[in-house]
Subunit: 390 residues, 2 copies
């Protein structure tokens, strides 16, 4: 058996960062920036008023000063001329500060009569001017790779970047295998169950930034499996679910091998989800996940998510972990790394009582996979432990 | 001035939960379940083997026992008959356990010759059977409202639920206002800047589960604003950005009022983002946000996100908060609730040095809004403080 990290290294060797494509800014949130972007302008592009008031020379900004209003500067409509001592320009937030002015007196501190203003008794410190380039300057960079957030999108807009190069979305084909499966909404026979893994994995992969294709269920015979692999044509990653253990009826590996896959089979020292098949199949990577519903979903978080991130250009790294304090004492762990369904609230983590890998109801109410390393010692309530948020 | 909570109460009174619509399960992740769903079957629907091995009677599961193999049960293909003492049925993971059997002996513990098996010297405790209904039973509920996760989608599939009723996505129309604005990719004049807020807010709203419509920029004149409001027809929420402060050139409120909006204007005791306009306008709620880029984005997190959640049926609640330990001592706070751009890493929060509300570059590298209540006392490094993740 190999460790989770060793299995991940094998899986990383099967995929590579995908090419970049151009996306309009309004569709770029959540995508991964593939090429560093530099600002096409300064922000603000001119020194701008931060308040509504009057632009003046700072030497004139003294209590009781009387100044002559010579014009107006609004956002989008600057004052064309310059400003001398004794003069003021009515100014609004966002307007360019006129040449010669270096101070804005807020309108609450000003009394105006006709074209004359008188400053109040107590003036604030000012200057209420946002200097040209305070936010960013031409050439300032947003560095790739980076998964774009709403704030990033706002910043890119301000930089005058209407389109960005982002990593193409990985296409993942999902194949459930097994004579026992029917699709949701169908009428299962007495020995059958509903295919659930592909639906859960599709949702998970799309949250990660992939495009998932749900293929028809493959039956436990060569022709049906071959058809499924044919339908997966064009995918970057083909994921089969079920048929990856060692029973006489698990034929996914044989069929994949007959179609040219250089097949590796790993027993990974983990719970749940021990058996894992992987290889290259033509242009695609192929991963065979175990068929137990919870095992498949846990392997999605532990193995597929890092592969997707690598394809998106985010590098080789295991699933991001956080830590929380144990809500209870726990016994020593077993020989396999255990990803326990658990609930994190207010920085405290509580493992579910029932950890059987068939229990989707337990997985659905969990929000974390608490990680116990192999042969973990007993731990006391209050100790911190790592988990993967799910 | 009113508090953030008072402002939120006003905003909540402008919107209501939206109607439900049917969505296929494969498109339901991230949507909010609007009607409680009950399982249409037991899971497993029959007692099923958890391993590959042999189904036997537990009284026969003793070291060295010799049993006669009378048939085979595979996933999807159960064994039709019953099983008596002295008999075994070859069984695979997921197959129905034959009548009469109550134990599976794993294949590693069995030696087979023809149709006779001999059990090994050391047997595990078993029984390696997943009892009917262990995961869930007919009628077990997934309760609405609930934002569906990938695990929920897997569970719903297993319950044989092909479609679910989810809250309709709120439609939000976004209107930037101001003569100073041009769209990204255009060639701004010397007094102009690029519209960034609508792009950032669109991305934020869509992450929250809304559909956002980016309308053309409205200019600072009545006709242009009226056109923009016309184009917002059909939206559940109309959001204007800019024109919500008190300068002579802020005419959004006047035009909205002339179009029938019952206008309320609030000064909210918060930084950034003090001025806020709100009201009902025909079938839609209308909110006017301040024009400073960071103010608009912060108001999006603090005000728009809770409104969206209410429309999605998730109830009235402010933006969810977490807590972290302060990375540094901080001085006493000001009279307004301050949403400081900050970075959280490893449970520790560090506020950015520059908090000016024009700095999108600072917002983009932050991942949290650290919340200082009004008139907050000084705080020491290591104390916990609340924040909104962004």
């Amino acid at each position: 058996m190999i460790s989770v990290d060793e299995a991940l290294s094998h899986l990383f060797s099967l995929v590579a960062p995908l090419e970049a494509e151009s996306a309009p800014l309004q569709d770029a949130c959540g995508r991964v920036l593939a090429e560093t972007v530099t600002a096409r302008r300064d922000q603000p592009p001119f020194s701008a008023s931060a308040m509504d008031g009057y632009a003046v020379q700072s030497s004139d900004a003294v209590p009781g000063a009387r100044l002559s209003v010579i014009g107006e500067a609004a956002a989008g409509h600057g004052f064309a001329g310059g400003l001398s001592q004794g003069q003021a320009v009515r100014i609004f937030t966002g307007a360019p500060v006129p040449d010669g002015a270096d101070r804005v007196v807020i309108q609450e501190d000003v009394a105006r009569e006709g074209n004359t203003i008188t400053l109040g008794d107590q003036l604030d410190e000012g200057p209420h001017i946002r200097r040209k380039g305070t936010d960013f300057s031409v050439g300032d960079a947003m560095k790739a790779p980076r998964r774009l957030t709403p704030s990033d999108v706002a910043l890119l807009a301000a930089m005058n970047i209407p389109r960005v190069m982002v990593a193409r979305k990985p296409v993942v084909a999902l194949i459930s295998t097994g004579d026992e499966l029917v699709m949701p909404g169908e009428d299962p026979g007495p020995d059958q169950i509903i295919a659930s893994n592909t639906f859960g994995l599709k949702a998970m992969l799309e949250e990660m930034g992939a495009t998932a294709r749900l293929l028809p269920i493959a039956r436990d015979n060569t022709a049906s499996l071959e058809t499924a692999f044919d339908l997966a044509e064009g995918a970057d990653l083909v994921v089969t679910i079920g048929g990856a253990s060692v029973g006489d009826h698990d034929m996914v590996g044989d069929v994949a091998a007959s179609l040219g896959m250089e097949r590796s089979f790993y027993k990974v020292r983990m719970r749940p989800g021990k058996p894992l098949m992987a290889g290259r199949m033509g242009q695609a990577a192929m991963v065979g996940l175990p068929g137990n519903p919870v095992s498949a979903m846990v392997c999605g978080h532990v193995f597929l998510a890092p592969m997707i991130r690598l394809m998106l250009g985010l590098g080789e790294a295991p699933a991001p972990r956080r830590s929380a304090r144990l809500a209870q004492d726990i016994d020593k762990g077993g020989p396999r790394e255990h990803y326990m369904r658990a609930t994190v609230a207010d920085g405290t983590i509580l493992a579910e009582d029932r950890q059987d890998s068939s229990l989707l109801s337990v997985l659905a109410r969990a929000n974390a996979l608490m990680i116990r390393p192999p042969d973990d010692a007993p731990r006391a309530k209050g100790e911190t432990i790592e988990y993967i948020p799910i």
